[in-house]
């Protein structure tokens, strides 16, 4: 029963990106890339989402927002950081208001490099995220484990 893999619903949040990656995430939904082929829907509602896609680095004001959105999402869930800004802050890394990559606030499962990340790379990123999502689900339905445990274990299992 791996329905999760076939129906990943996405939530996109623009942390502090330049819009480049954002519009590429949206472009994924459009006819030329059409991620609905994989059952992906952009929900826009954290409570319905399975995959959180974050573009851009974390700054002072959106820190809480990002954490809040992450916590609202029901388990199992994965976080995909899109673009180099979401990974490390990229070219904005040295700005006074940038704290760094998304992993400074919430655990990140997949990093998609690029500036701006292309729709094809984003699709690849989601596909990578799906296998992690599946692992998390298996963990969840297994023995009652602490959420944190699952998070650590999944990182160990990611080295493939």
């Amino acid at each position: 029963m791996a329905f999760l893999k076939r129906s990943p619903w996405i939530l996109h949040y623009d942390a502090s990106s330049c819009n480049g990656c954002d519009i590429e995430v949206l472009a994924c939904l459009t006819p030329l890339y059409d991620v609905e082929r994989f059952g992906i829907i952009n929900t826009g509602n954290p409570k319905h989402a399975d995959i959180l896609m974050i573009t851009g680095g974390i700054n002072e004001q959106n820190r809480e927002v990002v954490r809040n959105i992450y916590e609202q999402m029901p388990e199992p869930k994965v976080v995909v950081a899109i673009g180099v800004c979401a990974a490390t802050g990229g070219i904005f890394r040295e700005c006074y208001n940038i704290v760094g990559g998304v992993d400074k606030v919430i655990p990140v499962d997949v990093y998609v490099p690029g500036c701006a990340a292309r729709p094809e790379m984003i699709i690849d990123g989601v596909v990578t995220a799906l296998s992690i999502l599946e692992e998390k689900r298996a963990k969840m339905s297994g023995a009652a484990q602490m959420k944190d445990d699952a998070r650590h274990a999944e990182q160990a299992g990611e080295s493939t």
Binding site: P31, Y33, V80, R93, Y111, C115, E120, I132
Partner: protein, 130 residues
């Protein structure tokens, strides 16, 4: 007809077949200029350090003593400034994109350029890790 203005487009779409590029089955569209990722040739690098000074993201790090050239893939914006700046053509821009990763990637190369003689061709050492 004001109300169903889009009818023509819709019918053409419906019967004309989808415009989708079936990405994983069909390779990504690139052009000869596409800035995919930066590639490094360790056998021609003379450790001048122009690339690391020019890089606007400080993604490139050069250790002249240890003869190590590093690129932090999680910082590189593929602007191509290092490619233009490199006087020896050791850095090139590849059209292919890097795959998504599950942890930060710093690629490390050992520079194999030997000074006066012809550059020796040794396989590039490559290691991945945070």
């Amino acid at each position: 007809m004001g109300i169903f203005q889009m009818t023509k487009t819709v019918l053409r779409n419906l019967f004309g077949g989808p415009a989708t590029r079936q990405y994983p089955a069909v390779p990504a569209r690139t052009s000869s200029l596409t800035r995919g990722h930066v590639a490094f040739e360790p056998s021609t690098c003379r450790s001048c350090g122009i690339c690391s000074r020019r890089c606007p993201c400080e993604a490139i790090h050069l250790d002249k003593e240890a003869k190590v050239w590093e690129i932090n893939r999680m910082r590189c914006i593929a602007c191509g400034d290092c490619v233009e700046g490199c006087p020896f053509g050791s850095i090139t821009m590849e059209q292919t994109y890097l795959p998504p990763v599950v942890e930060h990637v710093v690629e490390r190369y050992t520079i194999t350029y030997v000074k006066p003689e012809k550059p020796a061709k040794k396989p590039a050492e490559e290691s991945t890790g945070a």
